[in-house]
C-alpha cells in the first residue's frame, strides 16, 4: 500500500498524479454537441466488460468492518474505522476513514491500496477492476481522484463546481457535476471525452446491474438514447411519488456520513429493468418485478412501481441499516448483523438454508451501524407463496415500539383499502388491544367504521364482553363496529349491541353510536335491554352523548316496541322527572308520524 502525502507526490512524481487545469475538466464553457461525443463514449465503453465482484454485505461496526459473502458465505474482518458508508464496487470495497481512504479486496477483505488524504467528505467512489475513482470534498473544494492498484494517484482534478457520485467503466470515469452535467473523463489522458447535459437534477452516476445510470430523483440510463438527454429524450427511470413513512429517497450508489445514522434506517431500494407490457409484445421501462421497497427502522415495505400500492410489509427484530434491490427481490442487512432476503413480488422471506446461513442468522454479536450491499448475481431459490398483506400487516402491527408509530399509522391507512375481511379483523385487534398506543387505537377505530367487509369478524368481536374472571379485560371498539354494521344493515349485531348498550364499560362516545345503530337494527328480542337503558337514563342523562343515545333508543322503542313501546315513550314525554333536553326531543319525536312497526 502506498501512503504518500499529496503535495510530495505531486512535486516529486509527475507520473504518480496529474492535476488538470480548471480550463480543462468541469468547465462551463462548453457547447452542446447534441450528444454526439457522449454517444461515441457509450459505444466504446459498451464493449468493455462490466466489473464483476462477489455478492457481498459489508457491515460497519465499532471494531471495524465485517464482510459477508452472500448468501451466508464466509466472513472477513478489517479494522478500518469508517467515517462514511463503504462503497462496494465490483471486486473492491472502498472505505473512507479519518484522513485516509482505503480499498479492500471484496472477496477477502485484504488491503489493495490506501492513500492519506486530508478531506472532509467522501462523496462517492467506484472501481472498474483496474482503477478506482473518488469524489471528495476537501478544504480546496471538490476534487476528483483516480487511484491505481499500486495506490498511485494517477489523476487529480479540483473543481469549482460540486462533484457528485462518480462511476467508472473501461478506464472512463463518469462524473456528475454542477447538478446538470455528466462528464466522461479518460483516466489515462485526463481529458474529457464526452459530456451530457441533463434537463433534470443529476448528482450521481451509478452502475445498477449491467447498466450505468445518471440522476438524482429520476435516473437516465446510459443507452442508445442518452444522446438525447439535453432534449429530454433519454430513457428515464423514476419511482412513483407517494407518501411513505420517513419520506425515503432512492439514492443508489454513493456514500453517506455515518454520523447521520437515521438515514441508513430510512431508504428506498429499486433496480431499473425493462418489463413486458400488459399487451405482451412491447417492453416498457420499469423496475425489477415492478416493485420497489422502502425501509423504516425495523420495517420493510414493498410497493408496486406503477400504482404505488402497498404490496407487502415485513418487520424485523432489529433495524434495517442497508440493502440492495436485485432482479428477484431485496436483500437487507440489520443492526444485529443478519442478512434478510425477501422475494420482490410478495415479500416472502426466503430461506437460503445452509449451515453457514444458520450461522449468519445469529448476527455478528455486536451492533452494526450501517451496511453496504452488492447483490448483482444473487439468485433466489423457488419458494412458496407468502402470507396475505393483511397477515403481514398484522405481524408488523404487533411489534410495539414508539419508533414505529408512523409506519403503524401508515399500515392502518393501507389496510383501509384492502377488501380482505382479514383486514377488518386486524383493525379490530389493533383497536381493542390495551397495548396499542391511544392515537393508533383511535385511528384503527376510525378506519373500522368505514369497513364494509368482514362482518363475521365484527360480530365475533361484539360477542366479547368484559369478563374479569375469564381474563377478558378489554372491550371491542363497540361504537366503530356499531356504525359499520349499521351501514351493512347487519341485524345479527342487534343482540350484542343491546348488551353493550347497558354495559357500564361502554364509553359514552360508543354509547351514542351503539344506540344509533340499534335504532336501525333492533328487533323485538332487544326490547328488554332497550327498555332498561331508557328507564335508567331518561331522567339522569348528564351529557349530550347520553341524551342522544336515550333519544335513539326511544326511536327504537317506537319502531319495535308496539303499543308498550309507545306507552313508555309517551309516559316519559309527560313525566316531569324526564331530563328536559330529552323531554323536548321526545316531544318532537312523538309529534312526527310514528314509524311503521317492523315485523
Amino acid at each position: 500500500m502506498k501512503a504518500a502525502p499529496v503535495f510530495m507526490a505531486l512535486a516529486l512524481c509527475a507520473a504518480c498524479g496529474r492535476t488538470t487545469t480548471p480550463d480543462g475538466l468541469f468547465d462551463l464553457s462548453w457547447r452542446d454537441d447534441g450528444g454526439a461525443a457522449i454517444e461515441r463514449v457509450r459505444q466504446r465503453v459498451s464493449a468493455e466488460p462490466v466489473p464483476k465482484g462477489p455478492d457481498l454485505a459489508v457491515f460497519v461496526t465499532a471494531s471495524g468492518l465485517v464482510g459477508e459473502l452472500l448468501p451466508g458465505g464466509a466472513r472477513w474482518a478489517h479494522p478500518a474505522r469508517a467515517r462514511f458508508l463503504p462503497v462496494v464496487s465490483g471486486s473492491v470495497v472502498i472505505v473512507g476513514a479519518d484522513k485516509q481512504i482505503t480499498a479492500l479486496d471484496a472477496s477477502t477483505g485484504s488491503g489493495l491500496w490506501s492513500i492519506d488524504l486530508d478531506y472532509s467528505t467522501l462523496v462517492g467512489a467506484a472501481d472498474d477492476g483496474k482503477l478506482s475513482v473518488l469524489s471528495v470534498l476537501s478544504r480546496a473544494g471538490s476534487e476528483l481522484l483516480a487511484v491505481d492498484r499500486q495506490g498511485d494517484v494517477v489523476l487529480r482534478s479540483p473543481s469549482a463546481s460540486s462533484l457528485g457520485v462518480p462511476a467508472v467503466l473501461g478506464g472512463t470515469a463518469f462524473v456528475p457535476w454542477g447538478n446538470q452535467f455528466v462528464s466522461a473523463i479518460d483516466l489515462e489522458s485526463g481529458e474529457e471525452t464526452g459530456r451530457l447535459l441533463a434537463r433534470q437534477q443529476v448528482s450521481r452516476a451509478v452502475r445498477l446491474g449491467a447498466n450505468l445510470y445518471f440522476g438524482e430523483l429520476a435516473y437516465l440510463r446510459f443507452d442508445e438514447a442518452i444522446s438525447g438527454a439535453s432534449e429530454g429524450r433519454a430513457h428515464a427511470f423514476q419511482l412513483p411519488t407517494r407518501e411513505v413513512p420517513g419520506a425515503p429517497t432512492w439514492r443508489p450508489g454513493g456514500t453517506l456520513s455515518l454520523g447521520a445514522s437515521a438515514r441508513t434506517h430510512i431508504q428506498a431500494y429499486a433496480l431499473p429493468a425493462e418489463i413486458h407490457a400488459a399487451s405482451g409484445s412491447d417492453v416498457e421501462r420499469s423496475f425489477a418485478g415492478e416493485r420497489y421497497a422502502t425501509t423504516y427502522f425495523g420495517v420493510a415495505l414493498g410497493f408496486h412501481t406503477k400504482t404505488g400500492k402497498l404490496m407487502w410489509v415485513r418487520s424485523f427484530s432489529s433495524d434495517i441499516v442497508g440493502g440492495a434491490a436485485t432482479e428477484h427481490g431485496f436483500v437487507f442487512c440489520t443492526e444485529r448483523g443478519t442478512v434478510e432476503y425477501l422475494a420482490g413480488l410478495d415479500g416472502a422471506r426466503l430461506d437460503l438454508s445452509a449451515p453457514s446461513v444458520v450461522e449468519s442468522r445469529r448476527g455478528l454479536g455486536e451492533s452494526v451501524q450501517a451496511c453496504a450491499v452488492q447483490a448483482d448475481t444473487l439468485k433466489f431459490p423457488p419458494r412458496g407463496r407468502a402470507e396475505s398483506l393483511a397477515d403481514q400487516a398484522a405481524e408488523a402491527l404487533a411489534t410495539s415500539h414508539p419508533e414505529l408509530a408512523a409506519v403503524h399509522a401508515f399500515l392502518l391507512g393501507e389496510l383501509a383499502k384492502e377488501e380482505d375481511p382479514l383486514a377488518t379483523k386486524i383493525l379490530i385487534d389493533v383497536a381493542s388491544s390495551p397495548r396499542t398506543a391511544p392515537s393508533l387505537r383511535e385511528q384503527a377505530a376510525f378506519v373500522l367504521e368505514g369497513r364494509r367487509t368482514g362482518s363475521e369478524h365484527m360480530l365475533a368481536a361484539l360477542e366479547r364482553e368484559y369478563d374479569f374472571l375469564a381474563d377478558v379485560l378489554s372491550t371491542p371498539p363497540v361504537g366503530a363496529l356499531a356504525s359499520a354494521l349499521m351501514a351493512m344493515n347487519e341485524r345479527r349485531a342487534a343482540p350484542f349491541l343491546a348488551r353493550h348498550l347497558n354495559a357500564p364499560e361502554t364509553s359514552s362516545a360508543d354509547l351514542e353510536k351503539t344506540a344509533r345503530a340499534l335504532r336501525t337494527l333492533a328487533g323485538q328480542s332487544e326490547l328488554s335491554e332497550l327498555e332498561t337503558f331508557f328507564s335508567l337514563y331518561r331522567a339522569t342523562a348528564d351529557d349530550d352523548t347520553l341524551v342522544n343515545a336515550v333519544v335513539f333508543v326511544a326511536e327504537a322503542l317506537l319502531s319495535v316496541g308496539g303499543a308498550d313501546g309507545r306507552r313508555i315513550v309517551q309516559s316519559a314525554t309527560e313525566d316531569t322527572l324526564t331530563h328536559p333536553a330529552i323531554k323536548e326531543k321526545l316531544g318532537a319525536l312523538m309529534g312526527k308520524k310514528n314509524p311503521s312497526p317492523r315485523t
Binding site: F468, L469, P504, S535, L536, T540, E574, T576
Partner: protein, 293 residues
C-alpha cells in the same frame, strides 16, 4: 390492595346499611311494632310514588324508609318506580328504601341498577340486593363479580356468601384466584365437602388473613355442613404454621366459641393454643402419640 380487615368491615356495613334503609334515614324499628305507632298509609303512599312529582316521591320514600321491613306493602309501587327510572337523587333513595324493606320481590327491579353507569348507584344496588335476596339478586351479584368495577366485585363477593348462593361457589373460587380476597369468607360460608378441603389447601399459598377469613365460618358451621374431622384438620394445620398471627387467630376463634359448640373442636382449639387443656387429647387416629408441632 383490599385489606381483609376492610372486607369484614365492608360486610358489616353492607348488611347494616341494607337493613337500615337510606343512609340519612333513622334506623327502622325492629318488629314487633310498639302499640299505637302510626301505620303506613299504603294507598296514599302508592299514589305519591306513582305521581311523577319529585317532592311527593321523596317525601313518600322518607316515610317508607322509616318503616323499614314494614314497608313491604309498598313493594309493588316502589318496584314500578325503580323500573320506570327517575332522577339520581330519587333513585338512590328508592334503592336504599328497597334494601331496608328487604323483600325479594324488589330484587328484579334493583338488579338493573347493578349495571348503572354511576358507580355509587351500582354499589347501592348491590347492598340492597343482599338484603332483598332471591334468584335475581344472586344473578346480578354473579354478574357484578365479573365486571370492571373492583369495589363492586368485592361487595358482590361478600354479598353472595350472605345470600347463601351456593351455586355461585365456582365464581367465588375464580374470584379468589383473581385476588378478590373478599370471596374467601363467602367460600367459607358456602363450601361443602371437597370444596372446603380445596380451600384449606390454600393455606400457605395466600396471605394468612385471607385464608382464615374463609376458615372461620367453616369452623362455626354445623357438622352437617362441615364435618368435625375437617374442622380439627383446619385447627391442626393452622397451628402447625407456628406463627404469632396463626396463634392469634386460633385464640380469637376460641374466645368466641359458643358454649353449645362442638366440644371436640373446642378442645382442639385449647390444645392448639395451650390454653385450658388439662389432659392431652390423643392425636386423631394415633393413641398415645406426642403433641404435634
Amino acid at each position: 390492595m383490599f385489606s381483609l380487615r376492610h372486607s369484614r368491615l365492608a360486610l358489616a356495613i353492607l348488611l347494616a346499611s341494607a337493613r337500615a334503609g337510606a343512609a340519612d334515614a333513622p334506623k327502622a324499628p325492629q318488629a314487633p311494632k310498639a302499640a299505637g305507632a302510626p301505620k303506613l298509609d299504603v294507598a296514599r303512599l302508592s299514589l305519591d310514588l306513582r305521581s311523577g312529582d319529585s317532592g311527593r316521591i321523596e317525601r313518600a320514600l322518607e316515610e317508607i324508609g322509616r318503616a323499614g321491613p314494614e314497608g313491604v306493602a309498598l313493594a309493588q309501587p316502589l318496584s314500578e318506580l325503580l323500573v320506570r327510572g327517575a332522577s339520581v337523587e330519587i333513585v338512590r333513595k328508592a334503592i336504599s328504601v328497597a334494601g331496608g324493606i328487604g323483600a325479594s320481590e324488589l330484587s328484579p327491579a334493583l338488579a338493573q341498577y347493578v349495571r348503572h353507569r354511576a358507580p355509587e348507584v351500582r354499589q347501592l344496588a348491590v347492598r340492597a340486593l343482599v338484603a332483598t335476596g332471591g334468584p335475581s339478586a344472586v344473578e346480578a351479584l354473579r354478574r357484578a363479580l365479573r365486571g370492571s368495577d373492583p369495589a363492586l366485585r368485592e361487595l358482590a363477593a361478600t354479598g353472595l356468601g350472605g345470600l347463601g348462593a351456593r351455586q355461585a361457589l365456582p365464581d367465588l373460587v375464580a374470584a379468589l384466584d383473581h385476588r378478590v380476597f373478599a370471596a374467601a369468607r363467602s367460600i367459607g360460608q358456602l363450601c361443602a365437602g371437597e370444596a372446603c378441603e380445596r380451600f384449606l389447601g390454600r393455606l400457605g399459598k395466600l396471605p394468612l388473613e385471607v385464608v382464615t377469613d374463609g376458615l372461620e365460618p367453616m369452623l362455626f358451621r354445623p357438622e352437617s355442613d362441615v364435618p368435625t374431622a375437617l374442622k380439627l384438620e383446619i385447627i391442626d394445620r393452622v397451628s402447625l404454621l407456628g406463627t404469632e398471627p396463626a396463634q392469634g387467630w386460633l385464640k380469637g376463634v376460641l374466645r368466641t366459641w359458643p358454649a353449645a359448640g362442638d366440644p371436640k373442636v373446642k378442645k382442639a382449639l385449647e390444645k392448639a393454643t395451650d390454653t385450658g387443656a388439662t389432659e392431652e387429647a390423643p392425636p386423631r387416629g394415633k393413641p398415645g402419640a406426642g403433641e404435634a408441632r
